[in-house]
């Protein structure tokens, strides 16, 4: 399906999922392309970002940091969008902007939430390594995790959008990096392409034993985005004064109720106390005002010098966003998951292959 100049396709929330979302929880609607009023900008979506936090916004009660998506409303999401028409002084037809247009072909904006992108060789990176997910990795590892040279950093979902950047920043700060990922292909990629010291497949047995062997001096920083069995394997290995930045817990996003026992909360408390561990949740929205400029400067330099590689998994076509999202929640992507919504961009030359 191609983008039309007269029809706005949008993916709306058709039903609140129980557990892993299904395709029937989404519905594609077609509406006329809206017309901008005074002060408004009409945007056409070129790239749509798919991120685990969106699963939380599908619940009736939102996660607190953002409003839940209403039934029948379009799914929300960050986009790279083209200005098609503007009745706003600061934005002009043809401008490329970072926007929050959601899962649809067209959207109106008042301009307040737009960031001009200028010329970028690979604009979709503004949704990933050069944008929200890269920034999450940067703040989480450096500000919350306070990694030091010589320390051991364990990174969950290490081939994902955030994890891959966390691991690479940790390496260039002089840390030893042990990744955890689902599947042998991902682990090979983590070691051979991303250059991490080790990577463990959490689907194989004896994760706790293998992790202990891979971290002979224990773990100084655990970058948490997963929860579940991975955290249980990590907890006994956390060293005195360890830091645990928590940016997600994807293993539990699809749970409808508290999981069965035993209750591991007391064990966590005991570990926090005995080993003076600091765990801190963070939401990247809080940090743009103070840290985004430093991130943008550092990351641009690291990417330009090849010290950080940014990988993308690209789905083609807005109509395939629901399946790509469901796949991502099951860890089927390698790197940042985006959707090329404008057809001309789906197979642009020079893109990196995704596994």
């Amino acid at each position: 399906m191609t983008q039309s100049t007269s029809v706005n396709r949008r993916v709306v929330l058709a039903a609140r999922p129980h557990g892993l979302p299904r395709l029937t929880d989404f519905r594609i609607e077609e509406l006329p392309v809206p017309a901008p009023q005074d002060g408004q900008i009409l945007l056409r979506t070129e790239w749509l970002s798919l991120d685990p936090y969106m699963r939380n916004l599908m619940e009736e009660v939102g996660p607190g940091y953002a409003e839940p998506v209403a039934l029948g409303a379009p799914m929300v999401g960050g986009t790279v969008s083209r200005v098609i028409a503007s009745r706003h002084a600061r934005f002009h037809e043809g401008d490329l902007v970072l926007a929050n247009a959601g899962w649809q072909d067209y959207a109106l904006s008042s301009g307040e939430d737009l960031l001009a992108l200028g010329d970028m060789a690979q604009p979709s990176l503004a949704l990933g390594g050069l944008g929200m997910t890269g920034f999450t990795a940067y703040v989480g590892l450096l500000d919350i995790g306070q990694v030091q040279a010589g320390e051991t950093v364990v990174v969950a979902a290490v081939t994902g959008a955030v994890g891959a950047v966390v691991g690479q920043i940790a390496k260039l700060k002089g840390a030893r990096v042990v990744g955890i990922a689902g599947g042998a292909d991902k682990c090979r990629h983590a070691v051979e392409v991303l250059g991490f010291d080790a990577c463990l497949d959490h689907r194989e047995p004896l994760l706790a034993e293998r992790l202990a062997a891979a971290c002979p001096t224990g773990i100084d920083v655990y970058f948490e985005s997963v929860g579940g069995a991975v955290f249980e394997a990590v907890l006994p290995l956390l060293r005195l004064g360890a830091r645990v930045p928590v940016c997600g817990f994807i293993a539990h996003y699809n749970e409808d109720a508290l999981p069965p026992g035993p209750n591991r909360l007391p064990q966590l408390m005991a570990s926090l106390l005995q080993r003076r561990i600091r765990m801190q949740g963070f939401i990247i929205l809080d940090h743009y005002a103070t840290r985004f400029e430093a991130f943008r400067r550092d990351m641009a330099e690291w990417v330009a010098s090849g010290r950080v590689q940014l990988h993308e998994a690209r789905a083609a076509g807005l109509e395939n966003a629901p399946q790509a999202f469901i796949d991502m929640l099951q860890g089927r992507n390698l790197g940042k998951q985006v959707v090329s919504v404008a057809d001309s961009q789906a197979f642009e030359p020079g893109e990196r292959p995704s596994l």
Copy 2:
């Protein structure tokens, strides 16, 4: 039983407890009073400190921050001790010192772990509000908890040695203080004597609902020393950016195995993330070098001006230390639990009554 000049009574660990310790887990032995060698000091115990951490040292595998007590060895513990004989240049007969002589009448020391106390009106306070437990409250609330004026602070075990000081420091920093304690008498003491804004009896039903009503704007700092049901009531009320210093989890010290489900760890992770909560365990031993002088100066001023009241629960006689310890683990004390080991001190004039 009185202290003898020739016999050293000591309370040794007779058996490792399962759950709450019993009197049969302890045994009193009598040995000759040892003689100091060159460089050594002979100490006679005047006051023995009883603290929840000691329960952890009764396990075969220690908590990490201190060695477990060996079977047949004397129980460890902080003491206020008198120098009886000295072959050490810095200490002299008659000096009163803060020591780690353990649960016994006499002990030898190399002097390295002694702190001269000078003249104190109430030397036992060096074990409590002016010592380790007061320092724990100070560092936990100010450094880890970073309380601000106008915030709501919830304090578990608020009539205990640490909690009562946490609450009083929070009040003098301009916070609203809601205590949690076991029993109506303690709650009355917390409000009427210690001056807290409210106190909830965790033994009464509907703790979660009552806590929500007592904290209409949520909780900014939760000072954790208990765990269990209290923490479960607190968690949903923690505000954005809340801090949770963890100095203990006494509700779980007597557990032999992981408690039954549901597993509340994922719920904790979700809360940490969504509300950017920082939880941090700390062990007060880590902070003496950097913060003890500031604590000593501030606390001396607060106590002298009456802004902080220090209450003690006193047991009389070393032979009663095991029962007093068991009682303390069940929350039967009000304020810091000490044992007067030197008989002359058991009922000194001017002591505050304990409930």
